[in-house]
Amino acid sequence: MISQIPALQVVIPLIGAPLCIILRRGALPWLVALLVSWVALAMAATLLSQVADGTVISYAIGGWLAPLGIEYRVDVLNALMVLLVAGTSSIVLPFAYKSVAKEIPEDRHYLFYSGFLLMLTGLLGMAITGDAFNVFVFIEISSLSSYAMIAMGRDRRALSAAFTYLVMGTVGATFFLIGVGLIYAVTGTLNMADLAERLPPIHESRTVLAAFAFISVGILLKLALFPLHLWLPNAYTYAPSVVTAFLAATATKVALYLLLRFGYTVFGADFVFNIVPSSEVLLALALAGVVVASTVAIFQNDVKRLLAYSSVAQVGYIVLGISYANVTGLTASIVHIFNHAATKGALFLVMGCIAYAAGACRLESFAGLGKRMPLTMAAFVIGGLSLIGVPLTAGFVSKWYLVLGALEKGWWPVAVVILASSLLAAVYVWRVVEIAYFRDPPTDGPVLSDPPLALLAPTWILTGACVYFGIETSLSVGFSEQAARFLMGGS
């Protein structure tokens, strides 16, 4: 049983999805989704404990061995990603019950949970598979379901946001497919481990260069690196609260994982950083993204949208760490993938709580919430501090390693930009905080109060994670550093 976990990790959510449609009545689909994701979490934890010492699990799907069949390969990095995805969905789903009941018509609930499980399947699959084409299939599974989930938002703008995302997402995935086709044409294999062996001798080949360009642009579109982020703000703003929280915490993060996997394992760090000037390109785009997106976030009047722009900026930080091409930078990126997932997950769940109580996340509807919804806003303040990177929150740990990595490279201006952009984050977070605590609530509106425990508890679990990983970093930094060394050493 234990040896089948890599396959079950993907198969169980996949079976869960149609089960939701069959059961469709009342709370049953929710229960199925919840159970499935908890089981997935347990499996992910088992996987991580198995690979924590550096072993690599290889699993041949259907018994077909590696070059022909599809191989699932689990090392520390994948196991961490799988844990992140399964963990987020396990925390978000309890929240979903009340939030979805409020935001989505009852006759579509079973479709929602079915779509949610498909999204989970796709993301888990992207993280766990060791086959380049299989990655494409899972990208499309997760993307198609997330387009549908975004379109379930209450505002009609959710539809146009989903359509834009569909077009850009498909272009990205197709670019990825072209790249995969090209490397298949020159190497004759789709298995990542085989590719890693066969690509280095032909690094100078123009086909490989073109393949790398297509694959990386395709992935950068999915992870919303500035200036390929245009789909993200609207999609996050108008999607149902639960979907936004889940996507923000996982979707871009798994795409980042793909960037690392293809950059370091498949093409190899030597090719990516020495033959192609990736470092410079990523550095420039990441810095531009951090500064521009943070600045745009300051001027948003919808808090969900503000946070969406902040996500674009935070993706910039993660890519920045990758661009250093050293262990510290890579550690910073992987740590920030986790810390930012916890932070943004918590913040978007807060948005869910506020949408539940107030119906909207416009800035003016935050007036007086500090008094009316003290627990919700306290979570927002802690999450916000983590975004800024204040000590004792997770965000600080990431920034610490990012700046340290920049200093190791001797890139002083980069270190300055990182610290200065933290202050931009302080401005956009504090705008919200000041309105929530200093402006009196409107006298004519309904009297709001904290949402029920079913919503607060998941929010505070993620908020607690922001604080926990800000104080005790042996888990987050320890595993990230191990993964970073594994990637750098594997090149």
């Binding site: 204040v390 004792l392 200093l407 504090w430 042996s474």
Partner: protein, 483 residues
């Protein structure tokens, strides 16, 4: 074990206080009790530390090689004793003040006050540079609700400046400095001779030190002093304890600690270019004094006086000799006693007479003789005349200046003493020797009794430090010699 209690007691106190919203008497008892317990713990710890013990306590692993930890040494103990001791006095005062003014949200006030004290203890007993930074930052954030206590537009503006300057300097400069030290020296520990060792690259020291001197915005070195006047929108007990004692002293304390235990005074003494910081501090002393002269709002005048006095300590630290460090440490204490007295008086005048500007104070000494007598004593200590604490500390700073061979700086100190007399003494003169503009029976009397008790206590401390100067000196001398 004792060390972690320094955080747990005030934090636990905050939890208890926050639950006692309905019972103000119990709530204030809890505040006082917490303050007294904390002070006693500090005394117990101080006895140990002056006997030579150097306890440490690791709270969390944090970043490998840089745990969050507490550690006690003489400088920290002095600061811890001052802050926790004056907390008792301030608690008594707050009760009189908050009740006298009938302030709203008193529970929130006492709760965050307690949290702020926990952070101050964290700063005092931070065991390494990264812990110091963390508690320093936590102190900025936990005092924000206190500064913006009135929840109005002025509070929002003041709070914005307060947090903007403090976060901006700490994230932009201080954190950068911490990272740089970590990167260069590979250690953020506090060790008596500094972390750099003998083969340090001297050309890096000055820019690195600049990041600390300016980045520790709480020390109020110009141009990053603006937050202090802005914070005067807070209720007076907050101004008194935090902006005369805990917060600003956390700033100068951090500067002293970093110069002594991260850089090491021996290293700074041989580093070319550190004179620059002496002049920055000297300029801050003079400019702030001149600005103070022109302030009519009493609290703002005191705030600028604080900016000026803080730079005495920064200057003392930058002298990089043991007389300077000892003088700086003593000045933390003497300025704390003197300035808290002055702020208490300002608050007493506001509670009893509802007056906030200097020009309204003519003749007030006849109605509030006790308050104004205390004010005069506090003023004498700030100016630096015997028989008060201020004289002792300024004496040592001056000695440090002479040891360092900086006669021009000595001149600055003398001029600034005259300036501080010029901005404080007219208030005393007006209060006692001028006739009130509005004739007739005074509409108010002396300040409430709790306020007078608190004032008496702080004045007693001012004298005590002069009388027992020798033991204070012995304690401070351990910072540089007794390790």
């Amino acid at each position: 074990m004792l060390l972690i209690l320094m955080l747990i007691i005030p934090l636990g106190g905050a939890v208890v206080i926050s639950m006692l919203d309905r019972a103000p008497n119990l709530r204030e008892t809890a505040t006082l009790l917490t303050a007294v317990i904390l002070f006693l713990l500090n005394i117990v710890l101080a006895v140990d530390v002056f006997d030579g013990a150097r306890p440490t306590f690791e709270i969390a692993g944090f970043i490998p090689g840089a745990p969050i930890m507490l550690g006690a040494e003489p400088l920290g103990v002095i600061f811890g004793l001052i802050a926790s001791g004056l907390w008792i006095v301030t608690s008594v005062y707050s009760i009189g003040y908050m009740r006298g003014k009938n302030e709203a949200n008193q529970t929130r006030f006492y709760t965050f006050f307690s949290v702020a004290l926990a952070c101050t203890m964290g700063v005092a007993y931070a065991g390494n540079l990264i812990s110091l930074f963390i508690f320093y930052e936590a102190l900025s954030l936990s005092t924000y609700p206190l500064v913006t206590h009135h929840n109005n537009e002025a509070a929002r503006q003041g709070g914005r400046t307060y947090l903007g300057v403090l976060l901006g300097t700490s994230i932009g400069l201080f954190l950068f400095g911490v990272l740089w030290v970590w990167h260069e020296a590979g250690s953020v520990a506090f060790v008596p001779d500094g972390v750099f060792g003998s083969d340090a690259n001297l050309s890096l020291i000055v820019p690195m030190l600049a990041l600390f001197v300016f980045g520790i915005g709480k020390a109020g070195v110009m141009p990053f002093h603006r937050w202090l006047p802005a914070a005067m929108v807070a209720p007076t007990p907050v101004s008194a304890l935090l902006h005369a004692v805990a917060v600003v002293k956390a700033g100068v304390f951090s500067v002293l600690k970093v110069t002594t235990y991260t850089f090491g005074i021996d290293l700074l003494a041989v580093t070319p270019g550190t004179d620059f910081f002496l002049w920055v501090a000297a300029a801050t002393i003079l400019i702030a004094s001149i600005i103070a002269l022109r302030q009519d709002n009493l609290k703002r005048r005191l705030a600028y006086s604080t900016v000026s006095q803080l730079s005495y300590i920064v200057l003392a630290a930058m002298l990089a000799n043991s007389a300077g460090i000892v003088g700086g440490a003593l000045h933390i204490a003497s300025h704390a006693f003197g300035k808290i007295t002055l702020f208490f008086c300002a608050g007493a005048i506001y509670v009893a007479a509802n007056k906030t500007t200097v020009s309204q104070l003519k003749g007030i000494g006849r109605v509030m003789p006790w308050t104004m007598t205390f004010f005069a004593i506090g003023a004498i200590s700030i100016i630096g005349l015997p028989p008060t604490a201020g004289f002792v500390s300024k004496w040592y700073i001056l000695q440090g200046v002479i040891d360092a061979g900086q006669p021009a700086i000595a001149g600055v100190l003398i001029i600034s003493t005259l300036l501080s007399a010029a901005y404080l003494m007219p208030i005393v003169y007006a209060a006692f020797f001028q006739v009130p503009e509005v004739s007739g029976a005074p509409s108010h009397g002396e300040a409430p009794l709790p306020i007078l008790i608190a004032l008496g206590a702080s004045v007693a401390l001012t004298f005590a430090m002069f009388v027992f100067a020798e033991s204070a000196l012995k304690a401070a001398a351990q910072i540089t010699g007794g390790i």
